[in-house]
Symmetry: C2
Subunit: 531 residues, 2 copies
Amino acid sequence: MTQLQPVLVAGQWRPSENAGTFAPLNPATRQPTGELYPVSSREEVEEAIEAAARASEALLDIAPQTRARFLELFAGRIEARRAQITTLAYAESALPVKPRLDEVELPRTTGQLRQAALAARQGSWTLPTIDTKAGIRSFFAPLEGGVVVFGPNNFPLAFNSAAGGDFAAAIAAGNPVIAKANSSHPGTTRLLAEEALAAVKEAGLPEATVQLIYRTDHQVGQGLVSHPLVGATGYTGSRQAGLVLKEAADRAGKPIYLELSSINPVLILPGALRERAAEIAGEFTTSCLLGAGQFCTNPGVVLLLKGAETEAFVGMIVEKFRAAAVGTLLGEGVEHSLGQSVTALQQAGAEVLVGGAAGGGTGCSFQNTLLRVDGGRFLAAPEALQQEAFGNASLLVVADDDDQAEAICRTFEGNLTGALYTDRAGSDEALYQRLAPILRRKVGRLLDDKMPTGVAVSPAMNHGGPYPATGHPGFTAVGIPASLRRFAMLQSFDNVRPDRLPPELRDKNPTGQLWRLIDGAWTQGDVPAKP
Amino acid sequence: MTQLQPVLVAGQWRPSENAGTFAPLNPATRQPTGELYPVSSREEVEEAIEAAARASEALLDIAPQTRARFLELFAGRIEARRAQITTLAYAESALPVKPRLDEVELPRTTGQLRQAALAARQGSWTLPTIDTKAGIRSFFAPLEGGVVVFGPNNFPLAFNSAAGGDFAAAIAAGNPVIAKANSSHPGTTRLLAEEALAAVKEAGLPEATVQLIYRTDHQVGQGLVSHPLVGATGYTGSRQAGLVLKEAADRAGKPIYLELSSINPVLILPGALRERAAEIAGEFTTSCLLGAGQFCTNPGVVLLLKGAETEAFVGMIVEKFRAAAVGTLLGEGVEHSLGQSVTALQQAGAEVLVGGAAGGGTGCSFQNTLLRVDGGRFLAAPEALQQEAFGNASLLVVADDDDQAEAICRTFEGNLTGALYTDRAGSDEALYQRLAPILRRKVGRLLDDKMPTGVAVSPAMNHGGPYPATGHPGFTAVGIPASLRRFAMLQSFDNVRPDRLPPELRDKNPTGQLWRLIDGAWTQGDVPAKP
C-alpha cells in the first residue's frame, strides 16, 4: 500500500491528521504518479495557523538580512536539487523538463527568490516616510499572523505556494507562509518545502516560517483565509474556487489577493496586418499555444476589423493551429473545462474554425482551437463570449467597423493585459488613439506590438488588473518591490522616542542604501541634524 | 410648506426624483433646522453614476494642473463663504463656530484641499516606476468610473463628502466624486457642493466631476457601491452601516475603503503616573471630552496597572470628568447609541465611576462618563468590553500585573491608534518593550506620551489600521500623498511606443519636480539617454 505523504506543520514533517486522501495523476499517461497525499483536517489547519502566528511574532526580532539570507540559501538549494525537482514536476504537470522547467521556470523561481532577498536586504519596499516637522514617521511592516498562499496549477515552480512569487514576497516582507499546494503537483511542492525547511534551519528563522498542507475541503479553506490569526492570503487559480475564499476573507476583514481569470484581449489593427501579417500570425500562434496555452496571460480573444487583410490573417493562423503539435494539458480537469468553455462559446454564437474537440496529443489534451464570432453577435452576448477557455484556444472577434470595435472594447471585463498591434507607418494611429484609452482602464498591463504571455519580473510590471482579473486594481503579484507591499500593514509612529523607532525610521540611514521620503524628497541620506 | 432641497446631478441643481424626504434636527435645540431633504431613488442614483462615468472618461484628457486649480479655487471659495458655511454647520452639528468650526476645521479643510492640489500638480503620488532594460513603465492612474464618498457625522467640514479628505484625495487622483451627504448635516454639504460646482465651472472640469445626493435606503446604497460603473467608495461612519456597504462592494469586486470604529487604547504605565499623573490626567480629560468625545481617535479604553498611583490617577480624572462642562452631541442618534453602549459595557462587567446617564448639557447630551473594570473581568469578555462608546465616555481597565496587561493587549481588536505613556527616567522601559510590539500590530498609528485625538495631515500619518478599524491595513484616509493611491489603479506599459506614454512616464521629466523610480533609484531627473 502506498504510504501517505507527511505534512509540514510547526517545523516538523509529520503524519497528517487527515480527513481524506488524494492521488495525483500524471497528465501525460492519465495514470497515478504513485504518491498519496492527505486532505488536512480543520484541527491540522488550526495548528498550522497557530504555529504561523507564533512565528510571525518571533520574526519581529529577526533582521531583514536574515530573511534575505534564507531566500538566497533556499534558491541555492533548489538549484542543487534541480534534477529531482524538475523530474517530479514533469511527472505531475507534463510540462517538459527542457526547456520549460529546467531552463525557464526554475531560473525564474530562483531569480525571484534572489530579487526578493535583495528587496528585503535593502528595505526600500517599506516606503519609509519621515515628516520631521510633525514628528511622525511611517513605513510598511509585516502583518500580524501568517500569510496563506494558494498556488495555481500552471506554474509548478515559479508560482508554487512554497517557492514562487507570492511565497517570496510574503517572506521578504517578514511574514511566515502557510503553503497550500496545488493538488495537481503536491510532490513538487513537497520537495520545494523540504529545501525551504532546510534553509529555514540554516538561516536561523523560526521553524514555522514555512509550513505545507496539500488540500482541504471548501469549509476548512474558508476557515483558513478568514481566521483571526491569519494576516492575509495570496491566491492564484480558478475564479470559482477563488470567489468562495474571497467571500470568507472579505467577511472577516482579512486581505486576500486573488488572480482569478483573464482573457487578455489582443487588438490587431488593419494597418499592422497589411504591413506584417505573417510575422504577427507567428507571434500569436506561439503565444497562444506555448505551454498548451495554459498561462494567465494567454491571448484568449483577438479583436480584428472586417476586411481582406483580416481574412488573410485568419487563414494563416488557422493553418498554423492545424499544423502545430498539440500539447499535453495539466490534467483531466483542464481538459474537461476547456471542452466546456469551447461548447459554451459555441452556444453563445461562436463558430469553430479549427479544433474544438478533446484529444490530439499525448494524454490529457485538446485540439488547438480557434473560434470566430462577428462583432454584432459578440455585442449580443458579451458576457458569455468572455468566458475564459483556459488552454490552447482563442476566440477571434471580427468587428464590422471602428465604431463597433469601440463598442466591443467598452464591454471588456477587467483583464491582466491588453495588447494593440499597429503599423509603423501610422495608418492605425487614429484608431489606436480611440481604442487604447478604453482598453487601458480595463487592464493592468497595456502592450504595444507584443503578445502578453511573457511576464518579466520587473519593478514596473503589473501582473494584476481590475476585477474579475484580480480582487483589487492597485496590486501586482509579480514585480518586486510592489508585490511585497500586499503582505504588509502601514505603521505610523507619532512622537515615538528616537531609540524606540525601527532602524528604518531612525535619523541615521541604517545601511546608506535605503531610500526614504524625508520631508517630501527621496534620499538615501540621513535625516539632517536640526539647525 | 418647506421646499425640498435640490440634488446636484450631472452638473445641475435640480429637483430630486425622490423616494422620500427627511428633515435634519438642530441637536442643541432638538428642533428641525427648517430644511427638508430628499431621499434619492434608484433611478436618480443611477443617473449620477452614469454622469460620473462619463466625467471619469472626460477627465482623462484634462491635465493634473487643472484638477489642482479646481482644488485651489474651491478652497478659496469655501473661505469666502466661511460665515454662512460655519453658521449652518453649527446649526446642524452644535459644534461651536469658534474655535472649532471656523478656526480649526475650516482651515484644516482648505489646507487639505491645497495639499491635494500640490500633490496633483507635482504627480509624485503616482509612484512612476521605469525599468529601462525591460522596456516597462508603470504608475498609478485614476480609476474607471466615479468615486463615491460617504462622510461621517462628526466632521461636517474636514471629512465632508463634498469637501473633506476623501473628496480631495479622489479628485486629486483624477476621479469624479459622487458625494453622499451625512444626513445629519445635509445643508452644510449643500453649501460646500455649491462652491464646488462653481469652482468646477471656473476651472473647466467636466460638470459631473462633483455630484451630491443626501440619502438613500440601504438597498440603493448597496447598488451604488457595487455598480459596474463605479470605481471605488470611501466610507467613514458607523460599523453597522459600513459593513452592509462592504458586503455589497466586496461581492462586486469594487474597492471600498472604510473607517468603521476604534477605541484607541491608551496604556499608562506606573512610572509615568508616579512622575506626572496630574499632567496626564489633564491631557486625557481634554482628549476624551474635546468635541464631546466625538472623534474616531477618541481614547475609549485606558489600560492601567493596579497600584496606588493608578488609584490616585483615577481619582483625579473622575473629579475632572465631574467638573467638566457636558458638551452637546451631534444628534439624537449619538445620544441614544452612547446610552446603549454604556449599558452594554455595564452588562459586560464594567462599573460606572462618574456619569452614565443621558442629559447634563444643552440639547442632545450625555453625562461625561468613566467606567471601570478590572483586568480579570475584561479578559472574561474582551469582545463585549471593546464595544465603541462613541462620545464623551471612556473605559478604564485596571490589570492586576504585567502578565495580565500583556494578555489584555493580545485581545485588542484592530484600532486606528494605540498610545503608551511611560516615565522619562526609564522605569517603565521594560514593560514598554514588552507591550509596545503587541500593540504596534493592532493599530495604524502608535503614539508615545501623547493622546491620539490630533490627526495631523502629514505624509507619514496613518489614519487607518487593521480590521475592524478599517477594511484593509495598508491604506490611510488622512495623509497626502498616500491617501490618493486608494482611488487609483496600477497601470503598466509594456513596450508602449514613447510618444504614446503618459507624460509622467516619458524619458523627459515633465516638470523637473516629479519623483520617479528609474532603474531602482529615486530621481527628479530625466531617463538617461542610451549610451
